[in-house]
């Protein structure tokens, strides 16, 4: 599992590294030129153009070596150094991006953004799963009923809508036509203001509704399908024949037995919600991990990209691990294998 993490990070560095170096080198050239134009005394102290050019070249080379950019990104020293830094959770400093409070430390930026994404997407995922499980269990107890059909239909239809497009529609409806919610999800208040949390929650409503609306259908459908499987098993039939209350069968016995796959999906979607949020956050302008990731990629800010990938992958791996553990707890047959 640790290997997976390392491979993911290596791939990221491999993909972004060379571009990053080019950008950094250009940055150095720009910096040197800017310093000279600002300080006219340096330029005046040269007698010929050639001498001036060689000075500039020298300056550029000096700084390139100082930053370790003279060796390409794939040399063992640089790779090893980057990896070592990552292992001790030192993500270094962002090249371009800063956190809201002005810090360019990648850990600071990440720590600032993660809670916001968790707030929005984890809340949404939990609401979705609760609605989904209840609705799924309900419709599985009445297969073929109107509720069941509507749920299935809704699941199929909602799953083919892109969340971000529905988000645009929601903005159109509730921010333009009926001006109930703001179009941009970033609160305008500074984070120190006492009303900040309230404003954040208010700005959160529209994205939250959108995500829940699109998500719960397919959840209900999945749960229903698992439940239909368990409802056909012998022990349920036996319970039915001895006359156990039907509601009790559905919500207690059947749901418990359908739990393992449901929990796996819940764990995966919880961590998946953090990464899959990139586009949704872009639509609603929600200042979380997804938008940070997108911004980092568009300006090629390598430390931030690596830090974010690291966090996402770690979360994903942890949730796979937790899902495995829970699976064993709910379904003891797995343990013996």
């Amino acid at each position: 599992m640790f290997g997976v993490l390392l491979i993911t990070l290596l791939l990221t560095i491999a993909l972004v590294g060379s571009n990053m170096d080019v950008i950094l080198k250009q940055g150095i050239v720009y910096q040197v030129r800017a310093e000279i134009t600002e300080n006219t005394a340096i330029a005046a102290s040269f007698s010929s153009v050639a001498e001036f050019e060689s000075y500039v070249q020298e300056q550029i080379e000096q700084r390139t070596v100082a930053l370790g950019l003279d060796a390409p990104w794939y040399t063992p020293q640089r790779l090893g150094f980057t990896m070592y830094k990552l292992l001790i959770l030192d993500f270094g400093h962002a090249t371009f991006l800063t956190s809201d409070s002005g810090s360019s430390n990648v850990s600071d930026i990440l720590l600032e953004k993660i809670p916001r994404t968790v707030l929005l997407f984890t809340t949404a995922t939990i609401i979705i799963s609760i609605i989904g499980i209840l609705l799924g269990a309900f419709s599985s107890s009445k297969i073929g009923s109107i509720t069941d059909r509507i749920t299935s239909m809704f699941a199929i239809i909602s799953s083919s809508f892109p969340v971000w497009w529905v988000g645009m529609l929601m903005i159109f409806l509730f921010a333009f036509t009926y001006q109930i919610f703001p179009a941009r999800a970033t609160p305008t208040l500074p984070s120190t203001d006492p009303g900040y949390i309230g404003a954040l929650l208010y700005h959160m409503t529209l994205p939250l509704i959108t995500i829940v609306l699109i998500g719960f259908g397919s959840w209900a459908y999945l749960v229903r399908n698992f439940m239909v499987g368990t409802m056909q098993e012998d022990f349920i039939t036996a319970k039915k024949t001895i006359g156990v209350n039907k509601k009790k069968i559905v919500y207690k016995h059947a749901l418990k037995n359908a739990a393992p796959p449901i929990i796996t999906i819940l764990a995966l979607s919880l961590s998946g919600s953090l990464g899959g949020a990139i586009i949704t956050e872009a639509v609603f302008d929600w200042p979380g991990m997804g938008r940070l990731y997108f911004e980092a990629i568009s300006v090629m800010d390598l430390p931030v990209i690596i830090g974010a990938t690291y966090v996402l992958t770690v979360l994903f791996l942890i949730s796979i691990f937790v899902a495995d553990l829970l699976y064993g707890y709910f379904d003891p047959r797995v343990k013996t294998e």
Partner: protein
């Protein structure tokens, strides 16, 4: 696992209603793409990002059919390209182009543009008159074209905001009925003496006078600006959204089907091979599978699109990399079951080649599942590509639906209420996805009869 043969699958499928609806939608979309490819010249979509190609069209105007639902008719955007041509020769030759417009909307037009290309030598005189429904003839413009000793081709656009037109209107304010500062020229021309809109037939006369006979108007068109245009309206960059939607159909189908078929095939062969070989090969291959599975797909797709290339064909490839994993897992476990069946063991003992066993005995068993997964993975591919395009990482040379939505988002269409720019592309994505989901679900219920009950 139930053994279902492909022929049974087709028979069962024809009985499934949602499946047939899906096929119906899909066929409609395919027809649409074919018609698009035949009717709309390929030029238009290559010119999608070229603003000068769209200059004649209005900015962010609603679709034309909006007029059926409103009581106050919104003026249409009218482009007249073939005027009635009358020419007279003599000491002074006259070429007269007459544009007749029946103007019945309830609102003033949004200005007008006269664009022409003339071939002449010397300095001909251009006059534009308009005859209004109340039979008043108003001279709008009288100007000479730039002097030239030799024969030249001259192209010019005359806008209704022209100062000369303003002056002429001011002079003729008695014929017009009223004049006031601050009111645009076109409103003055199209208004009666009570400042209300004058409906009826307007005749725009463009006369080109010259002393010699070798003057020609090669191209001449009058554009009467409106606020509704086309079946789907236009966007901020004056592009006809309908063309974007139509060209998006074959692109979306191509992306969806190519990714689905490609990734399912890779996954199938990978999974079957791993399952069939077993032991260390299986372990190793599944480990690799896990690694790909644990990669965060969307972030990686973004990185790939940014760093390597955003060509549509490469994006199709990138999407394949991340979508074969699930199929590989399932087909591996299915193979593990089939492998233990007696006929497979028998053919192994008979010494058949591994490849033959795989292709003759195992893969045919998995085909129904394969079809279902192809159908189910198409919508994901389409939405993911649309998502990438939406972030502005798509191939800019192809107008995909995601691209249209990206433009809509950058111009703040949602917050400005430009619904015709947002709803149709998303709806097309949803409908296309729905068609495949219907087909996939129908196949799924046939393969897993448990779900049907």
């Amino acid at each position: 696992m139930n053994d279902i043969l492909s022929s049974d699958l087709i028979k069962e499928f024809t009985k499934n209603k949602t499946g047939l609806i899906g096929v119906g939608i899909l066929l409609t979309l395919v027809m649409m793409s074919l018609i698009t490819a035949v009717i709309i010249p390929v030029e238009t979509f290559k010119q999608w990002n070229n603003p000068s190609n769209w200059i004649e069209y209005p900015k962010t105007s609603m679709p034309i059919w909006v007029n059926y639902f409103v009581t106050e008719k919104i003026p249409e955007h009218i482009i007249i390209q073939n005027p009635t041509i009358i020419s007279k020769e003599g000491d002074i030759s006259v070429i007269s182009h007459q544009f007749e417009v029946e103007f019945l909307a309830d609102d003033f037009p949004n200005g007008f543009i006269y664009e022409f290309t003339a071939e002449y030598s010397g300095s001909p005189l251009l006059q534009i008159n308009v005859i209004r429904p109340d039979q008043n003839k108003i001279l709008l413009l009288s100007t000479s074209l730039p002097n030239s000793e030799t024969k030249i081709v001259h192209n010019e656009r005359i806008f209704s905001t022209d100062d000369m037109i303003r002056k002429n209107i001011q002079i003729q304010s008695t014929e017009l009925g009223f004049y006031r500062e601050g009111i645009p020229n076109e409103d003055l021309i199209f208004a009666d003496n009570e400042e209300k809109l004058l409906k009826g037939n307007y005749l725009f006369l463009v006369n080109l006078y010259d002393v010699n006979d070798n003057t020609k108007i090669i191209d001449s068109k009058l554009i009467l600006g409106g606020k509704v245009f086309g079946i789907m309206g236009t966007d901020e960059l004056r592009r006809d959204i309908m063309i974007g939607l139509l060209w998006g159909t074959p692109l979306a189908l191509f992306i969806g089907i190519a990714v689905a078929v490609g990734s399912v095939m890779i996954g199938l062969i990978y999974g079957v091979y791993a399952g069939f070989k077993g032991k260390k090969t299986d372990d190793g291959m599944m480990r690799f599978n896990d690694v790909i599975y644990a990669l965060p797909a969307l972030p990686f797709l973004i990185i790939l699109a940014v760093t390597i290339s955003n060509s549509i064909f490469l994006i199709v490839g990138f999407l394949m990399i991340f979508s074969w994993v699930g199929v590989a897992k399932v087909s591996r476990s299915m193979t593990l079951q089939i492998k233990t069946k007696q006929y497979v063991e028998a053919s192994k003992i008979m010494g058949e080649k591994n490849s033959r066993i795989i292709f003759k005995h195992i893969i045919p068993q998995l085909l129904p599942y394969t079809f279902a997964s192809i159908a189910i993975s198409v919508p994901a591919a389409i939405t993911t590509e649309a998502g990438l395009s939406f972030l502005g990482l798509g191939d800019p040379t192809f107008p995909t639906w995601g691209q249209i939505l990206h433009d809509a988002n950058t111009f703040g269409a949602a917050a400005r209420g430009l619904w015709w720019w947002i709803v149709p592309p998303g709806l097309m994505i949803a409908i296309t996805g729905l068609a495949f989901v219907f087909i996939g679900n129908a196949l799924d219920t046939i393969i897993n009869p448990k779900l049907k009950r």
